[in-house]
C-alpha cells in the first residue's frame, strides 16, 4: 500500500464518490439521476487526477482535470438533450422503459 499520508484521504474520497456514482448509474431508474451520477463519477476521477498531480508535483494532471470538466459539460448537454427528446416521445424518463433497442 501507499505510505499513509493525507493524500490517501483524498483518494479514498474519490473512490467513494466514484462508487456512489456507479451505484447511482446502475441502480436508479430516472435518467436524470443517472446523468447526475455520471457527473459524480467524472468528478471523482477529476479529484483523483488532481490529487496525484499534487502528490507528484506535476501540473499535467490538473490540466487533464480541466479538460474533463469541459468534456463533462458537453456530455451533460448532449445527455440532457437526449433525455428531453426521449421524454417528448415516450412521456417517461424511466431507464428501464427504454428497451426498444433490443430488437
Amino acid at each position: 500500500m501507499l505510505p499513509l499520508s493525507y493524500f490517501n484521504y483524498y483518494l479514498a474520497l474519490g473512490a467513494v464518490l466514484f462508487a456512489i456514482g456507479a451505484v447511482g448509474v446502475i441502480a436508479r431508474r430516472n435518467a436524470l439521476i443517472a446523468l447526475m451520477s455520471v457527473e459524480l463519477m467524472l468528478n471523482a476521477a477529476n479529484l483523483t487526477l488532481v490529487v496525484f498531480a499534487r502528490a507528484q508535483h506535476d501540473m499535467r494532471g490538473q490540466a487533464v482535470a480541466f479538460l474533463t470538466i469541459a468534456v463533462a459539460a458537453a456530455e451533460a448537454a448532449v445527455g440532457l438533450a437526449i433525455v428531453v427528446g426521449v421524454f417528448r416521445n415516450r412521456r417517461s424518463t424511466q431507464l428501464d422503459d427504454l428497451t426498444m433497442m433490443k430488437h
Partner: protein
Amino acid sequence: MDASFPLHLIPLLPLLGAIINLLLGRRLGKGAVALVACGSVAAAALVATRAVWVLGTEGLPSGALVDRFFQADWIFSSGDGLDLHVSAGLMLDRLSAVMVLVVTWIGLLIHIYATGYMEHDPGYHRFFGYLNLFMGAMLILVLGDSLPVTFVGWEGVGVCSYLLIGFWYAEDKNATAGRKAFIVNRVGDFGFLLGMCLLFSLIGTLKYSEIGSHMQTLRQPLWLGWPAACFIALLIFVGCTGKSAQIPLHIWLPDAMAGPTPVSALIHAATMVTAGVYVVARTHVLFDVFPTSAKMVVAGIGAATALMAATVGIVQRDFKRILAYSTVSQLGFMFVGVGTGAYAAGIFHLMTHAFFKAGLFLGAGSVMHAMGGEGDITKMGGLGKHLPVTRWTFFIYCLAIAGIFPLAGFFSKDAILAGAWAARFQLARQGFGPFSVEWVQHFTQDIYPKLIWSLLAAAALCTAFYMWRLYFVVFTGRFRGTADQEHHLHESPPEMTVPLMVLAAGSVVAGWVGVPAVMYHEGDWFGAWLAPVLPPPAQELSHSVEWGLMAVALCLSVIGIASAYLLYYGGISEAARRAAQILRPLYLLLYNKYYIDELYDVVFVRPLKRTAWFLWYVVDAFFIDKVLVQGWAWMVSMLGRAVRYLQNGEVQRYLVGVLVGTAGILWVTTTLPPRRAAAFRLSQQGRRVTLEAGGGSSRVGLVYRVDWESDGKWDEVDTRWSTLTHEYPGQGTYKILFEARDPRWGTSSTRRRVVHIE
C-alpha cells in the same frame, strides 16, 4: 503375316444403327426403325462374312486380320518410373471368326424375329436401339485384340443386358431382375479387372498376340509356389462365371428372363452369356500352364453347373425359366469343354447351342405371343395343332439339344464328353501333405476327368428329360388355359416363323461341320479350322472308346426322351404327379433352385442391406445430418437463445457488465504478475543458493524482497533483479521468504520455502 481389313466397320454399323434409333427412332416410325436395325446388322454380317472369307483365303491359318485404321495408343502415361502403354485395336483370327459369324447372323435372325414380336410395343425404337447397341458391344468384345478392348465390349453388353432385362421397367419385378443381373455381373467383372491388372503388372501388355511370348514370366511362382498364370486365369474365370452364369454367380440368368423374349434369345442364350467361354478360349495360354489347377476349376465348376441347372430345369413350370436353366446347364458343358483342354469342342458347342437355344427361345416367344403373354406351361397343352410351324421347329430344337444323331447338339456334346473323358490334368510333381504324388496323379488324370464326365452324362440325361417334358406338356394333350386364350391361339406372323425355320435348319446341319474323325475321315472340319489358334486335346481316344462314349450319350438321350414321353405325353400324367408327391423334399429342393437365392439373401444381401441401413440411418441421417450438421446449428441457436437474455435493452444491466468486467480485468492484471513471480525456483550448488522469480515475461516492472533466513530482517529490499544469489555461512535448514511486488499498483505476493544446506 497379318493382313489388314476394315474390321471397325463390323461393330460400327450396329452402333450407328443404335445411335439413329435411339436419337431419331421416335420420329422415324416403326418401318424405318426396323429397317435401320436389321439393315445395320445385316450389313455388319456381310462385312463379317467377307472378313472371314479374306481370313480363310489369304494369310496364314494361325494369322489374324488386323485393322490398320483402328489402332490407337489408348491409355498412355509415362514418367516417374511409370511407363504405361495400352493400345487398342481390333483383330480377327479363326476363333473370333466363329464368334463374329454366330453373333452377326444369329443376331440378324433375332432382329428380324423381333420386328414381329415387338410390333405392338410402344418402346419399339428404344428396343431396337438397345439391341443394336448390344450387337456393337458384343462385336467389340469378340473382335478386341487385347483384354481391355474385350472388357469394353464386356461391360457394354452388360449394360445392354441390364437395359433390356428391365426393358418393361414399369413393372418392379423386371427392374429388379435387371439390377440383379448388373450387380452379380459386377462381382465377376471385379475378378476380370484384377486379373487384367495382375497380368499387366507382370508382363506390361494385355494383347492376346503378345501374352504367349511372355510365358516364361508367367510360369514363375507368384504366391504359395503356384505360377502367376494360374492366378490370372482364375481371376479372369471369376469374370467368366459372372457373365456366363456359372456357379456361384449363376443366379442372375433365370431372373433375366423378365426381359422380352428376343432379348433372352440373343443375349441370354446365344451370344452374351457365351462370352465367358470365348474369353477362356481366347486366353487359353494362361489356363494351359502347369499345374493345370485353373483348368480343373473351370471344368469342375462347368460340370457342377451343368448338372445343377439341369436338375433344376426338370421341375420348373415357367417356359422361359426352364430354358434359362437349360442355358446355364449348356454353358456348363461349354466350360467343361474349354476346361478339359478340348477348346474346339467348347467353341463348337457354343456355336451349335447358339442355333438351337436361340430357336428354343424364339419358339417360346412364339408360344407366349399366342398365349397372350402366359408363361406357365401347366396352363398350356395341345398347342401343336394351333402353332404347327412353332411346334415342328421346336421339335427339331429339342432333338438337337437332347443330342440325337445327326443333329447339331449330338456332335458338339459328344465332342465335349469325349474331351472330358480324355482329359489329363497335371496338378503337382510332388505329393501334398497326406497325398502321395502317385495318388494325386491318379486323381487328376483318372478319377477327376471321369467324375466330370459322369456329371456331364447325368446332366445330358436330365437335359433330354426336361426339354421333352417341356415339349410334351406344351404341344401335346388338351389345352389347359382359359377358353378366351384358346380362342385367340394363332400361329405367329412370317417375320417370326421364318427365323424359326432358318434356326431349325441350322440346328440340323450346324453339327455337320464337326463330325468326329471316327465317323468320317476329315469330318472334323471345325476342329481343323480352329487347330491353328487353339491347342488340340491332350490325348486322343481310341476308336472303340469314342464309339462307346457316343453310344452311351445317345442312349442317355433316348432314355431321357422316353421317360419324358411316358410321364408327360398328352399332359402331366398321374405318375408324374405321384412321383412329385413321393419325392416331395427333393421336388421342393429342385423347385426352389437348391435355395441358393435364399442362401445368398441370408449371407450377402441381408447383411449388406443391414449395413446400408446402418450407414444410411445411423451414420448419415443420424450422425452426419443430425449430430454434425443440425447439431452445430442447434448449438449456435441455443447459444443465441442464452445470449438473448443478456441483450435485453436495459442499459443499466449492460453497465453492470462493464463495471464487473473492468474490475475483473483490473484485479487479474494487478494481482497475477506478483503472484506468478513469487513462485520462485531454487537451484543449489553447495552452500550457494540461487533464486529465480517465476512468471517469465509477465514480471516486467516488479520489485522483489528476500529474507534468506526468515529472521524478520529483509536481506535484499526492492531489488529489480529477478535472480538472486546467497551463500549460507554453515550447515542447517533455512526458510527463505520471498516477496514480489508491483510498485505501480501496490499489489504483492509472498512465498516461503525451506532449504537444506549440507
